[in-house]
Symmetry: C2
Subunit: 421 residues, 2 copies
């Protein structure tokens, strides 16, 4: 099946917002086996939108339109589709009633111009919008499908998942497609691809790697006559993926690294603290991005000078002997973080964020220390090229390091009563 | 002048990357008075790209193409333009020589397939690419201009600014357009728009507001026969903008809030430290995003528990009396950060990041404390809706608060010799 996406909105042509909807929808189409050949952006202009729609009807079986479904005169997507197909928009009493209720729940009457959001054309069915006023349209016309959804990303994504995608899957035939994303940290994209190369060239299920800001993702998709069969194929693939690269996989789908580490700490009744140098607080910041992190995160120290490292418990003799940028200091920082805060687990990060070298070490040089109830370990490496990227990779790799150790060490004894001070 | 943008790359159609180039270029066209009517995305497919180019030549005077200039067979933008215009690509010895030098500097010989990056067609001039292998093309053909640039954003932006934009401005006629962006913190978009509403409706110079992740931006553009005249118009507008909203403006164009605060601290020979609760290290992280921040940033404390706040110098009686989420505790945290680190300036942040309320206060409740050599102040407010946004607004507003006080207090005495411990 050949598809195209049309993004509607003058704000896109003024560069006021970036069109993230098109990329998100494009990703959704890949595992469906639908070939996306064109993405077009047009403004809130009915004549130009009609022209783009007519061209799309001439070449694509599936046309996905986002934006232009608002209540104002500028919003012309419904009108343009009606014109392109030569059909008439008619207000649907049931949709109008839903819309009135939506406004009533918010405590004010429906403005009359919102009524156009309650219209359909004969070829269209409404796609419910539980979190906004604009229903979408599912249009079938001479073998073509036009899916029209709001431009607001949260409304669009929900409408796609709950209503458009199931209808599309039915139409695509017997096959059900199920996807699963494996998220890794501690391994680069080319190395990850190498380790799963024997799985990458399969056509069903498929597996592909993507370098993302929270690590390398592996996205798997399986196609089968039933959802159960597709899930079984994915489960089988997952076994092989985990055999090849499992220790680097920290989570699947919507899981975050900080969320997974938080869960592992909570399950083991362990508390965490950090001492950071070159990451400057980013590690603590990522840890506290997880809601509920106050249950296990005690606190963090950003020791940006050697004097503060010493004040907070790093032996100055160690710094004098090995330099600040050393595994020894990373280990001492992890231990000092525990001591200073009374936590069970300490993470220490020292290194060079750049742009200038430090103690003769190039930017990207990193030492990560972990103190797990007195068992101290370090890992070292050179990561990243640019200051913010180096900071990010350092913080994520420290969390990845902690995750692996928490999983390996089933012998960590249950936590003692909180030590306080 | 009517324009369109063509983004080339199969990775865009697979949703592997979001097309930020198109939005960036669209923003660039607004102040030029160029009307952008279409953005099209096509894959690495010569036939489809030729078709899109031919349609563009039929309706647009200016066509901007990004992507597809790499050395591989997949990269077909040059070939497609040559085909659409019926011209022949010829290797240019001078360009080939430049390319060989580029590889030589990196210490390896030029792969032969890179030679196609050294080609031109008769209608094209080369646009230098000082940071990559792919030169762009400036094509003039029967009244149309085609600008072709690499897809890598850093290469594209530099080529646009240094080469494409000046040529385009010359071609657009007498008028030179100069832009300037004023960046604010501590004020919302609607309030900002209100304060400059008397300037917003002007046609030349123009002024528009944009809500960005580092605060509300005001973008000004002036059009005049000479650059000097345009700059004079902008200077005049800037005076009015600063009169209306000046205390919130922390920087212009490429300046960052952390960079500006760092410069102010350095100029005053002041050192900085932080104690954070709900922001969890984000404030220290933003401060240390500025290269060279180790010159003035001593360190930070993330006191995620009341016990750690007390350990690091916040009077527990104060917490007992006012609660953790209080201006009193924010002030005490700022002072404690100074004492613990020996810094001249302390910033303290306490509040509720959510999703749950704390001490009866809703998410977004924030208290920011500042201790500037013993002069202690706080500001309080409710900012943001979602956890990460609340953290971000808290950290940025703390920096904005510090910036304003550093500028107001010209009476801050020169720093004493570093106190150490």
């Amino acid at each position: 099946m050949q598809a195209e996406i049309i993004s509607v909105g003058t704000e896109l042509l003024l560069g006021e917002i970036v069109d993230t909807n098109a990329a998100w929808l494009a990703q959704q189409l890949v595992p469906l086996g639908v070939n996306l050949y064109w993405i077009s952006t047009v403004g809130d202009n009915q004549a130009r939108l009609v022209e783009v729609l007519r061209r799309a009807l001439g070449r694509s079986a599936l046309i996905i339109v986002t934006g232009g479904l608002g209540p104002t005169e500028d919003d012309v997507t419904r009108e343009a589709i009606a014109e392109a197909l030569g059909e008439e928009m008619v207000v649907q009493p049931a949709l109008a009633e839903q819309l009135r209720c939506f406004f009533q729940r918010r405590g004010y009457p429906m403005p009359e111009h919102n009524l156009k959001q309650a219209t359909l054309i004969p070829s269209a069915q409404a796609l419910d919008n539980p979190i906004g006023t604009a229903p979408g349209w599912w249009v079938e016309h001479q073998g073509h499908v036009i899916i029209t959804m709001p431009g607001v990303p949260s409304e669009m994504k929900r409408m796609w998942r709950e209503q458009a995608l199931p209808r599309l899957q039915t139409r695509l035939g017997d096959a059900i497609i199920v996807t699963r994303t494996f998220k890794t940290i501690g391994i680069g994209e080319s190395r990850a691809e190498e380790l799963v190369s024997h799985l990458i060239h399969s056509h069903n299920p498929t597996l592909a790697t993507y370098a993302k800001s929270d690590g390398v993702h592996l996205r798997a998709a399986a196609k089968a006559p039933t959802e159960a069969a597709a899930r079984a194929m994915l489960a089988n693939l997952e076994t092989q993926v985990r055999a090849a690269i499992g220790s680097y996989i920290y989570g699947v789908d919507d899981e975050t690294l900080e969320g997974v580490v938080g869960r592992l700490l909570r399950e083991r009744n362990l508390t965490l603290a950090t001492m950071e140098s070159c990451t400057g607080g980013l590690l603590a910041n990522i840890i506290t991005d997880a809601p509920g992190s106050s249950a296990y995160f005690r606190g963090g120290l950003v020791a940006y000078t050697p004097e503060l490292k010493a004040r907070w418990g790093v032996d100055p003799a160690l710094i004098a002997e090995h330099g600040v940028v050393s595994p020894q200091v990373a280990a001492a920082m992890a231990t000092a973080a525990r001591r200073e805060t009374g936590a069970d687990v300490g993470l220490g990060i020292t290194g060079v964020a750049g742009p200038d070298p430090l103690e003769g070490h190039p930017p990207g040089t990193l030492h990560l220390g972990l103190d797990l109830r007195g068992q101290v370990e370090t890992i070292s490496g050179v990561y990243g090229a640019e200051r913010r990227q180096i900071k990010r990779l350092a913080a994520l790799n420290a969390l990845g390091f902690l995750r692996r150790r928490l999983l390996e060490r089933d012998d960590v004894p249950p936590a003692a009563v909180n030590k306080g001070f």
